[in-house]
């Protein structure tokens, strides 16, 4: 039986997605070595200048190197994506397994809370929360993380509801295992694959969310950059200096597309029905 990874790499688009992501992660990790200039150095006299040898992707309104800012911005954008993804996954797993496994009033309470969360558009919720707490890297991260757990919780709850009826769970219970042991050792590991797919898709949407926040000025604050904040600054000069908005826009698009391709690939690779079929 081919491993998940092998099956993933048979999926061409997923492979492309994975490679793009690896490149982006590489760029983010090694930004200080890759960046041709200090991302905070201003050259006011060279405001909005197009690509040149010293500034391969041109300069922003303050004359800062856009390539360098994008490399450093990749750190912000990707780490918000990953970390907020991890936070929401963590919260989602806790909430979803409590609700699914224990049922009863715990289930009722958690699911109603989740529904309340879902009735409010996430973007508005995040903006309101950021406006209260004040925009910063950490607050954006935590707020996005805490506001996107509901999807995980719902999926996980559904999975657990079906798995906990399976004979092997009953066997474990008959054997005298504690609830926690059953949940952690027997139930959860069997529900993870849909979650993994969700994470990749969720990271992509978190990156978009962060970009939108930064676009509106609620995200990463100057002098730090994220792709969204550079894009936002470029919007005002879209006619006179299109390079400012174009490059970060392409980066956002690539990252989100890559995560989505990878997510699709993972879904196929992890699909238990396909595994059984082979």
């Amino acid at each position: 039986m081919p491993s998940v990874l092998q099956r993933l790499f048979q999926h061409k688009l997923a492979t492309v997605g994975a490679i793009v992501l690896l490149l982006l992660v590489f760029a983010a990790l090694f930004a200080p070595w890759l960046a041709p200039n200090n991302p905070e150095d201003v050259h006011p006299e060279a405001s909005l200048r197009g690509p040149s040898r010293q500034f391969p992707l041109g300069q922003d309104p303050s004359g800062r190197c856009i390539l360098s800012r994008m490399l450093y911005g990749a750190r912000a954008s990707l780490s918000v994506g990953f970390l907020a993804g991890v936070i929401s996954l963590g919260v989602g797993i806790i909430m979803g397994s409590l609700a699914g496994y224990f049922g009863g009033w715990v289930d009722l309470l958690i699911m109603r809370v989740a529904e309340v969360f879902m009735t409010i558009p996430q973007f508005l919720l995040v903006i309101a929360a950021v406006a209260i707490v004040g925009p910063s890297f950490t607050s954006v991260l935590v707020i996005i993380g805490l506001s996107s757990w509901t999807g995980y919780a719902r999926v996980l709850r559904g999975e657990i509801l079906s798995i906990k009826q399976k004979p092997f769970v009953e066997a474990a219970r008959a054997y005298g295992s504690s609830s926690w042991r059953i949940l952690l050792r027997h139930v959860l590991p069997n529900c993870l694959s849909p979650l993994i797919v969700m994470v990749t898709l969720n990271v992509a949407s978190v990156i978009l969310l962060e970009s939108s926040l930064s676009f509106l000025g609620f995200g990463i604050q100057e002098p730090q950059a994220s792709w969204g904040s550079i894009l936002s600054q470029g919007r005002a000069y879209f006619q006179s200096a299109p390079h400012v908005a174009t490059f970060p826009g392409i980066a956002i698009m690539l990252a989100v597309l890559a995560f989505n391709l990878l997510g699709d690939g993972l879904r196929d690779a992890l699909d238990p029905k396909l595994v059984e079929g082979e």
């Binding site: 150095d41 201003v42 006011p44 309104p61 303050s62 000025g217 002098p223 600054q233 005002a236 000069y237």
Partner: protein, 516 residues
């Protein structure tokens, strides 16, 4: 007037302009406003957009027209102050009629000022006029103002209140006046369609002669880029408050003539002087040395500004004092001054003193790209000398609350003073709680001079007083003065004669003529 007013004034200065009818006949002039009018009632004028329209309909006793140092007679033809400085007598123009044909008399002047001073009117401008103790009307064409103390800027104050018709306003009331406005001015109200347009037509019986253009249409167009496009296409004949980039593009087309106005506004980086961080004068001077005002003027404003040394612009030549301490960009000097003030470079590159990092945040309005760009530069320049500046971009409503409550370590804005140097409302310590002293600046010597300058009526003596005020403000770095913006506008070449009045004053549309 509140801060919003100041903002609107600044904005509308940017935006005032007029357009000539490209598509329409050449006797209709279309003028792009940056917002819809709010209230045309002369005693309730609070923003430049409303003032722009209202002053075409109504006229004050005297007015600044082409220069900042001379009052032009409008509804008053002669005026004099008695030697004590406690009363002013105005001789009114004879033969002037309101738009409905009724004669204009001294009763109208008295009524206007009494309405302004009546607390029930709730005019935000009332506080500025409380020096008026009583108003007498010995005959139909004479008005005498009695003051509680001599007041240097009295004529300046008179220039800011257009006169309204007693017989009309007492009938129609103060509310809902806009479309019923009646004045003595060169243009008469035709209609106001909210958020769409205001139409005026020439007053055939204007005492100064019927204006050359028959109709004026004011169109509110809030987006600067849309105004620029409308001007380029000839949809409006005058638009202003254009960005430097748009301005160049519009002029390239050849059907528009550029109109650049040096505004009296001053843009600043304002630290909160109440904050102990800025208590040491050397620290404030270091901030001034660390910020490159010239680069902001050339690179951010693209030359559309004048480097500033204080709150009075060199354009206001009569009152401007060039001999004040200046702070050319000099980061080394800034570091030196900060070191003298006891700030040491810490391990993270930022300055520390008594275990605290030199870090503060500046609030500024979100959405203004020019402000943002200059803030980014200032942040970097301050970082270069070891100061950690954080930028807080705020929505206007939040920003206003923070300003009203003086809740900030620093703020970046601009103010538009009137041509008279009496900036009591900006720099006097009582204006911290009851005025526009957003810098929370307090200096007994400046307080005394400002009080003295207001009471003084001899121009030469006032000049000496305000020269000293400017020198102290600069030496003290009451704020880091950045620049005086130029307002970029354009006039369709089918029209000529467009002049914007001096800063804060409305454009003089009665001077506009169609070409040919």
């Amino acid at each position: 007037m509140k801060r919003l007013v100041v903002l609107l004034i600044a904005l509308s200065l940017l935006l005032t302009g007029c357009g000539g009818g490209g598509a329409k006949t050449s006797d209709t002039f279309i003028y792009a406003l940056d917002a819809d009018i709010v209230n045309l009632l002369p005693v309730k004028l609070t923003n430049v957009v409303s003032t722009t329209v209202s002053t075409q309909i109504h006229e004050p006793l005297v007015k600044y027209e082409d220069t900042y140092d001379e009052f032009v007679p409008k509804l008053a033809t002669e005026w004099s102050m008695d030697p004590s400085g406690l009363s002013w007598t105005f001789k009114l123009r004879t033969g002037v009629t309101w738009h409905d044909g009724e004669p204009f008399t001294s009763e109208d002047v008295k009524y206007t000022y009494e309405t302004l001073l009546d607390p029930a009117t709730k005019s935000v401008r009332r506080a500025n006029y409380q020096i008026i103790k009583s108003i007498e009307t010995p005959d139909e064409h004479t008005v005498v103002f009695h003051l509680s103390e001599p007041h240097g800027p009295f004529l300046d104050k008179m220039s800011q209140v257009p006169i309204m018709a007693k017989h009309h306003v007492s009938k129609v009331g103060l509310d809902d006046y806009n479309s019923k406005a009646i004045g003595t001015g060169p243009f008469m109200m035709v209609e106001w369609i909210p958020d769409d347009h205001v139409t005026l037509k020439a007053n055939p019986n204007y005492w100064g002669g019927k204006p050359a253009i028959e109709n004026v249409i004011f169109k509110p167009i809030p987006e600067a880029s849309v105004r620029a496009m409308a001007l380029q296409k000839g949809e409006v004949h005058f638009a202003s408050g254009l960005t430097a980039e748009d301005f160049e593009k519009v002029l390239d087309k050849g059907n528009v003539q550029g109109i650049v106005v040096d505004s009296l506004a001053f843009a600043y980086f304002g630290h909160n002087n109440r904050n102990p961080l800025f208590a040491d004068k050397r620290v404030r001077q270091a901030l001034a040395y660390a910020i490159d005002g010239e680069s902001i003027v050339n690179d951010v404003r693209k030359g559309a500004a004048i480097v500033s040394v204080g709150p009075i612009s060199p354009t206001n030549a009569v009152w401007f004092n060039p001999n004040v301490k200046q702070y050319p960009y000099d980061p080394e000097k800034a570091k030196e001054l900060l070191a003298q003030a006891g700030w040491q470079v810490g391990s993270d590159g930022f300055l520390t003193k008594d275990g605290k990092t030199f870090s503060f945040s500046v609030i500024l309005a979100a959405g203004d790209e020019v402000m943002r760009n200059q803030a980014v530069l200032i942040q970097k320049w301050l970082k270069d000398v070891g100061v950690d500046l954080k930028l807080e971009f705020l929505d206007w409503s939040v920003m206003n609350d923070r300003l009203d409550n003086r809740e900030y370590e620093a703020m970046m804005l601009s103010m538009t003073p009137s041509p008279d140097p009496d900036q009591f409302n900006y720099w006097h310590s009582t204006a911290i709680d009851n005025g526009f002293n957003d810098w929370c600046y307090s200096n007994v010597q400046v307080d005394r001079l400002l009080e003295q300058g207001r009471r003084e009526t001899d121009p030469a003596a006032r000049k000496a007083i305000y020269d000293e005020v400017q020198a102290i403000l600069a030496e003290d770095v009451a704020a880091v003065f950045l620049y005086h913006p130029k307002v970029l506008g354009g006039l369709n070449k089918n029209f000529t004669g467009m002049t914007e009045g001096p800063a804060g004053q409305a454009p003089l549309l009665y001077k506009v003529k169609p070409v040919k």
